[in-house]
Symmetry: C2
């Protein structure tokens, strides 16, 4: 049963909107999906392409993205259709016979169990489809406007006038805010005068999805392959069981290349691949997609138009470009889009002060800086001939050591109006303030079932307040003070005793709210430990209890003692209107 379209939503792009998103890539669609949860805000997404993306582009999905998909309700479906990266193999020249490669190491991709979610490979087009589906199933019943091109914009006092082209006709749309999610050649970025700066040099990759027969044994395992002459391949199997993607290094692009690398024919890429794979060979049967992908390490200094009252924001590849080697492009872009989207939602909805929007660039520009630094190091290492490495296992060691980064979990936002000082961090050491909330298993008291506490956090734009109860009555004392607005906050209590010992009818009423038209009890706010699951031990939560505050995009904003009802109030007073 498809839900019906919203009769109140104009079918055609209206003249005035609250938010205009430009570009239906991962950043734009993630933002669009989040904003669709705010039915009171009119959001439109324009995309130059005539319809959905069908094939190609990025494919790496780090665990942090799958966690995010969980909030958007499609993690399981993505897991089922993806290729899972469980190991990574390293191949290098055989010291005895340097023109032949040998496997030097096979390392686990997630040695430390950094997330309950896997590291996956899936066509970007599928991910975009899922976000679009979520947007359509949301209260706003939002559908992208395809075939509409951004031409230019002008920021006036209280609005942005955006010129768009559709069916060869130009028109002006008045938006309160504009999100430029229009990729590496972003015209929104140009329109606000921001520049991608960084290395002048571009690096070229022949990227091909191949169906092949081969005697290379790791054709279905992710590999970094280095040949004796310093050339390399990043090999990444694809979903479905047969296809494998090759990123074949085509080297640095000379300044005077004038696009000639982009004309590299497919046969040369295959030839180059076979040279690197020697003594193994691939016999290519079909290449459903390939491209030459040129990219440099570049970054803009700010992700918005003006430090005061910004009205235009840029995200994803529009702000930062880097190699495909660390598999970051789609992932970081999604987080950019989600970050700015809920903030716009809160400001336009009247929940938060407009200053909240300034935290977007402050938070995400640092992430992009780190990403580029990491990617530079990783790319340089991959390109370094084996005999120049400090030690033979240097590359593999770097991969294993830095694993948290590419999985997407190194992001830690610094103190700001959104992120508290770590004054009370010791009360919940496993929930570092500024990092994403790492889920753990708890038992729902009402039905005794084990569930992941973090998986209840859906992309509904709400803050989460987790009350980890003490053994005594402090948690209940706090409850007596708490009044929360259901639409803005999701409040839960977690007891440290086993589920069978919690007397549910004695839990304070604020954790058993009555919901909906019929005012029936919501039984799903009350959790406990049990059957080998103890979130208090696993996440270093004090037996005196703690309040853990989590943002709508899953980052920990604050940790407080149970007696700090006032501090909790003043924390939100710093954000809300």
């Amino acid at each position: 049963m498809e839900p019906a379209a919203d009769p109140e939503r104009p079918q055609h792009l209206p003249d005035e909107v609250d938010v205009l998103i430009v570009g239906a890539g991962p950043a734009g669609l993630a933002a669009f999906a989040q904003l669709a949860q705010f039915p009171g805000i009119s959001t439109r997404l324009i995309e130059r392409r005539a319809g959905r993306l069908e094939i190609g582009q990025a494919d790496g999905l780090q665990a942090r993205s799958i966690e995010s998909f969980q909030a958007f309700g499609f993690a399981q479906r993505v897991i089922e259709e993806s290729y899972r990266i469980y190991s990574m193999a390293f191949w290098r020249p055989d010291p005895e016979r340097p023109t032949e490669i040998v496997r030097t190491r096979l390392v686990p991709d997630d040695p430390s169990g950094i997330s309950e979610f896997p590291h996956l490979i899936l066509n970007q087009a599928r991910v975009l489809d899922y976000f679009a589906e979520f947007a359509f199933n949301s209260p706003a019943r939002a559908v992208p406007d395809y075939g509409v091109e951004f031409v230019g914009l002008e920021v006036t006092g209280d609005a942005v006038l955006v010129t768009v082209r559709q069916n060869d006709q130009e028109r002006v749309i008045r938006a309160k805010y504009v999100l430029g999610c229009d990729g590496a050649r972003s015209q929104v970025r140009e329109a606000i005068g921001r520049k991608l700066v960084g290395q002048a040099a571009m690096h070229a990759w022949g990227v091909m999805d191949v169906l092949a027969n081969t005697d290379f044994p790791d054709f279905r395992t992710k590999c970094a392959i280095q040949s004796h002459d310093g050339r390399n391949i990043l090999l990444i199997p694809r979903e479905g069981g047969y296809l494998t993607r090759f990123y074949v290094d085509l080297g640095e692009v000379p300044k005077d290349d004038a696009g000639s690398v982009r004309r590299t024919p497919l046969v040369s890429i295959v030839e180059q691949a076979n040279r690197i794979l020697h003594p193994y060979r691939i016999e290519v049967q079909d290449v459903p997609w390939w491209s030459v992908y040129e990219v440099g390490h570049r970054l803009t200094d700010k992700f918005h138009d003006a430090d005061e009252s910004p009205k235009v924001f840029i995200t994803g590849d529009a702000c930062h470009t880097h190699s495909a080697k660390a598999g970051q492009g789609m992932n970081v872009s999604i987080q950019d889009g989600w970050n700015i989207a809920w903030k716009l939602g809160h400001v336009l909805d009247g929940r938060a002060r407009p200053e909240l929007l300034e935290t977007y660039s402050a938070e995400r520009q640092v992430v992009a800086q780190n990403l580029i630094a990491f990617d530079k190091e990783w790319s340089a290492l991959m390109a370094m001939p084996a005999d120049q490495m400090p030690d033979p296992a240097h590359l593999e060691d770097f991969y294993v050591k830095t694993f948290e980064f590419p999985a997407g979990f190194m992001t830690q936002y610094q103190p700001s109006m959104l992120t508290a000082q770590p004054t009370h961090q010791h009360l919940a050491t496993g929930f570092p303030i500024g990092k994403r909330f790492k889920s753990a298993l708890v038992h729902r008291v009402s039905d005794t079932t084990p569930v992941h506490l973090g998986h209840h956090a859906r992309a509904d734009g709400r803050w989460r307040i987790y009350v980890f109860a003490d053994n005594g009555e402090k948690a209940h004392g706090l409850a007596a003070e708490l009044t929360v607005q259901e639409a803005w906050f999701d409040l839960k209590i977690i007891y440290q005793q086993p589920f069978a010992e919690v007397q549910i009818q004695k839990v304070p009423a604020v954790f058993r709210p009555k919901q909906g038209r019929l005012q029936v009890t919501d039984w799903e706010r009350i959790y406990a430990t049990g059957d080998g699951h103890d979130i208090f031990a696993e996440r270093g939560i004090s037996r005196d209890g703690a309040i853990v505050v989590v943002r709508p995009d899953q980052y920990v904003a604050n940790v407080l003692p149970l007696t700090a009802g006032d501090e909790l109030t003043s924390f939100f007073a710093g954000i809300q209107v």
Copy 2:
């Protein structure tokens, strides 16, 4: 992207079909879904209702059903939307104050981890939707014919002439086989002269799905509640977080009742519930669905029309009826439907001898007998006043002790043309011949990923042959003899060494077949142990290796030594044409 309908499939019910299924309940739709995998066979399903089931009926899904859904590709989606039964609570009269109930025990629902899948509660309508979706996405692009009623049938020499009514018009359809999946009042059963026999007495239940506020603490946990006067409630929470189903015992139906119990009003059911719950109360806010469900323990002696060359088969409630207490109705019906469907597929497809069809009744009638025996015992126990029990914990003990039965795993088919004698059972003690293949984690060698071996068995109508390799060369010797037809058999090899030690290029070619138009290698037939997963240890497989043969419906058919290539051939010769 919805797949397009098959242009070759007639939109309207044709005059001749291979298989005509009557009734779109769980049995009929499971059979329809399986047969849709055989595009060469024309199968139609007629259903009296004008469209899909929308609400009500059964809701219990045992782990065996979820395993089956895995094969049909929708287990994960069902898990995500269902209520999960993790514990069961028992409430009985307080010995001190017998008019008040107290919780005497809370027991885990699956104490032994009998399956990797959970025990769930979900509206029957959703399950039917999923089977219908699978049928439509199958090669046959099958869609049920709603609004068509079965009127009668006549078995001629080589066909069944079925009279149906549609839009008040009768017509005759010629079918090679007919499946009567038309429920407890089956007209197909009547037409072939089979009778439901058993207890004359019917037992009545007031069944209601309620939204309520209550001080009863286990409103969201499955409970058996017994009051001092021997009345009882089976309480089962529903998916979605709010709704709970009550089965309120209305007692034995007197012979001369003449339908009066069926006229029991909702208020009396609620009143009765509150009497049993005393001192707790439910305040009902809404009852989206309720019914009075009368049922007796009844069974037909045979599930087909004739012992020789049967052409008409009956399934599910058409063959067996019993209480809802053990939560079996939907589950057993699904297995009935699946069992007969793949067999019909094989016979009509020319893969198997028609005698195969006789195994259906032989296998499933015994299952139904056992079900009814179990349900009688369980129902009698639930109705027995506490002071008549042999000991106070008798009911709970029975529940815990017999857990394997209601989970759906007690079924063990006896030796037949399909089920070998347990001559070599000692080679794989964890795969009892005749029981369902219990999955375990293995590692796929090509990509090192841990996967459930059993989850690769899809409902594609194929036999599975698992070759568990010895340390030496017997498995490879067997491989040299094996030639299998891809469309009929799914052949896999599992090595006992860790995945990193298997040299994939040395694995015999039969386990690395080339597939499809492009003839590219299928890398996903080769498995191993590793990272703490050792299927050899977990399933008692001999280090000398074994061949395990599994039927299209997941039951183990044979266990053989690796040297028994001939026996394997003669086993299949007994089935195939």
